[in-house]
């Protein structure tokens, strides 16, 4: 099991050596059992760091902010930033490297192996506990979680409240890192795409009714794309106005922005937005589950991306974020890619 002290020790030492500008990690939310992202600049702040099953965030998202910040600064501090990553998160770094969005030297990767565990899913937790009473959730021994409430400590099998993506995960160890904490543990709690079965086995109309109901809820707060480490475009093609304008952009160019998706949260636009997003994440989504977690209206967004991940894997033998040197899913092909559906 990864020891919090090891994480703190590593963070202290790289801050001491001045190797990194700051470290993005996890700390406790003062009023809540959940963690929140922590931006650690000073050595003494490392004591705030935590590592527990509430460390759901994919902190790779914040590399984009750092890049933007650096672009705005006249004489930026070019040292890398440290980031604590789980297995899934580390693959996001690989995708960003593959797409040349970041350079390897821009980031110091502190890999933390999930080993036999993972992070919680609040929805599952709520079914078992009154959230208000929870004080703390910790990793226990033997793949258990220890939950502290007002009444004391309860041990619960991790699988009961583990996020579905963690149950289906087969990349529980970071694939890219400067330092790896914890051990590489092979584990398989479930088949990788098992949760999709319930969506694939139903009839076309049932599928439609399900997704229509879900996507009609969307309020287009764009939390899904805002939290996504892959959604780093300055201007999303779902935006109805052109963001990437410069003083010399002509009116004609601005007018040529295509409105693939209107801002109105109506069914057709919601579908357009989410379908385009799923297609844009095909071969890039690393299933960190953040989009689904942050959705305020509980749209099961992860399944759209998971479906693309499945087809990439089963039809094209491609898994996102394993090798930054290889071409992306859609910028590559094999002569014998399946084509049964083509007339």
């Amino acid at each position: 099991m990864v020891k919090l002290d090891d994480i703190k020790k590593e963070c202290k030492s790289i801050l001491e050596e001045g190797k990194v500008k700051y470290i993005v990690g996890y700390k406790r939310n003062n009023n809540y059992y959940m963690s929140i992202p922590a931006f650690i600049e000073k050595i003494e702040e490392t004591d705030q760091l935590i590592w527990d099953p509430t460390c759901v965030y994919n902190l790779v998202r914040f590399l984009r902010d750092e890049k933007l910040r650096k672009e705005r600064q006249k004489t930026p501090d070019t040292r890398p930033i440290g980031v604590i990553v789980k297995g899934c998160d580390s693959r996001a770094i690989n995708v960003l490297l593959q797409e040349k969005f970041i350079k390897r030297e821009n980031v110091y990767i502190i890999g933390v192996a999930c080993e036999k565990s993972g992070v919680i899913e609040k929805k599952k937790l709520r079914k078992k506990f009154n959230e208000k009473n929870i004080k703390q959730i910790e990793f226990g021994k033997d793949n258990n979680f220890i939950i502290t409430t007002e009444k004391g400590k309860t041990t619960i099998s991790a699988e009961e409240i583990l996020a579905e993506r963690c149950i289906e995960c087969n990349n529980n160890t970071p694939v890219i890192y400067d330092v790896l904490l914890g051990e590489k543990v092979e584990r398989s709690l479930s088949e990788h795409f098992r949760s999709l079965e319930k969506f694939e086995s139903i009839s076309t109309e049932e599928k439609w009714n399900f997704w229509k109901k879900e996507l009609d809820k969307c309020i287009r707060c764009y939390a899904c794309r805002s939290v996504c480490p892959m959604c780093y475009c300055d201007e999303c093609i779902a935006d109805s106005i052109s963001l990437a304008v410069k003083p010399d952009t002509t009116a004609e160019e601005k007018a040529q922005k295509i409105r693939w998706v209107e801002k109105s949260p109506v069914s057709s636009e919601n579908f357009s937005y989410h379908l385009i997003r799923a297609l844009h994440l095909a071969g890039r989504c690393i299933d960190c589950g953040e989009c689904e977690r942050v959705c305020p209206v509980d749209i099961p967004l992860r399944y759209l991306n998971k479906k693309m991940e499945k087809e990439a894997s089963e039809q094209f033998g491609y898994t996102a974020g394993l090798d930054p040197e290889k071409p992306a899913l859609v910028s590559d092909f094999k002569d014998d890619d399946p084509q049964d559906f083509i007339i």
Binding site: I36, F62, V227, K263, V294
Partner: protein
């Protein structure tokens, strides 16, 4: 008018209101939201709070302002679209959200009257439900001039008394609504009134979150405008729209022409919610963005709520509903941010 309504009679009251469109919290999955209710007897008022406040009924996320069509290049036909005239009742509004609607009324009806908002507002009766237990651990209405049983903005306030509701009319419209089914109501006895007071007082005590010295904070905000305070506080912000879309008083909007067909031109001018956290919100046509980063956007949200609006309207643009705290994907806590403002030293 103060009356007692047995819970058994609640649905009968609603049935009597068949000339109104009725909106009430509806649960879908784990998410509650205000929806048009077809069968009023299905309404359950025992709910925490909705994700999206009832502002969406009066100020819908999408509003068609006008339709345009052009069959030739010389001529463009415009058709104004005005909200329908259908009286509505919104049931189960929490006091915080009701005071939010009152604030929105100041914005949309004070000075310049927004026809779309006011048309809807004028024909909508707001029936509130006092919070005996705070719907969220993040509630802080008492810190921003509200209370769990505030009547501000309401036409009627209901309080859950166990087997019955204590129903108080606040306005004439509210009174009429009770009178339309007066047979279902009883006069309250004195001990019930005392019981009500007790419930109200206790509910106030159950609110855990508190902002100290809110007035000082409000006036301190301009002093720290140009500090790195905002950089630090906004580090984890991802610039989504949850905090503002779920806010009962955030009211910024965007106007777009939704073109259905370019040639011949046909489309609608549409108003949709917009959001000061989105990068395109303040984007100028030149490419210049006066709020270029997260820090300036978080600052704007706080400044607008706790300083600008206060300066202009002598009240805060926050009702303490706690939604932005509960729903923030990265745990940004407005109460904590304000506390940090309070203790911040340059």
């Amino acid at each position: 008018m103060q009356m007692i309504l047995s819970k058994m009679n609640f649905s009968s009251w609603l049935k009597k209101l068949n000339s109104y469109r009725i909106f009430a919290p509806v649960k879908s999955g784990e998410v509650w939201s205000y929806e048009l209710v077809e069968k009023p007897e299905n309404i359950i008022l025992d709910y925490p709070n909705t994700i999206i406040p009832p502002k969406k009924v009066l100020f819908p996320q999408r509003e068609v302002l006008l339709e345009f069509e052009s069959s030739s290049e010389q001529e463009i036909k415009l058709k104004e679209v005005i909200p329908e005239e259908t009286p509505s009742v919104i049931f189960g509004i929490r006091s915080c959200d009701a005071s939010g609607l009152a604030k929105l009324e100041k914005i949309f009806k004070g000075g310049f009257e927004d026809l779309y908002f006011s048309k809807r507002k004028n024909q909508t009766i707001l029936v509130g439900l006092a919070c005996n237990i705070p719907p969220s651990p993040d509630c802080f209405c008492t810190s921003v001039g509200g209370s769990p049983y505030s009547k501000d903005g309401l036409d009627i306030l209901m309080t859950d008394m166990g087997d019955e509701y204590y129903v108080e009319s606040v306005t004439e419209e509210g009174e009429k609504l009770i009178e339309s089914a007066i047979g279902l109501f009883n006069d309250p006895e004195e001990n019930v009134k005392k019981e009500l007071e007790k419930i109200h007082l206790e509910s106030e005590k159950k609110i855990k979150r508190y902002i100290k010295d809110i007035d000082k904070i409000s006036s301190k905000l301009p002093e720290i405008f140009e500090t790195e305070f905002w950089d630090k506080e906004s580090l984890s912000c991802i610039l989504c729209g949850i905090c503002t879309y779920s806010c009962p008083v955030c009211h910024c909007f965007d106007i777009n022409d939704e073109v259905i067909c370019t040639f011949p031109l046909k489309g609608k001018r549409v108003r949709t919610w917009d959001n000061c956290q989105f990068p395109d919100f303040t984007m100028h046509s030149s490419g210049h963005n006066p709020r270029p980063d997260k820090a300036s956007r978080l600052r704007q949200r706080i400044m607008h709520k706790f300083n600008y609006f206060n300066e202009n309207c002598m009240e805060l643009l926050c009702t303490g509903c706690g939604r932005c705290i509960s729903k923030c994907p990265v745990g940004i806590d407005i109460v904590e941010v304000l506390e940090k403002v309070r203790v911040y030293e340059k």
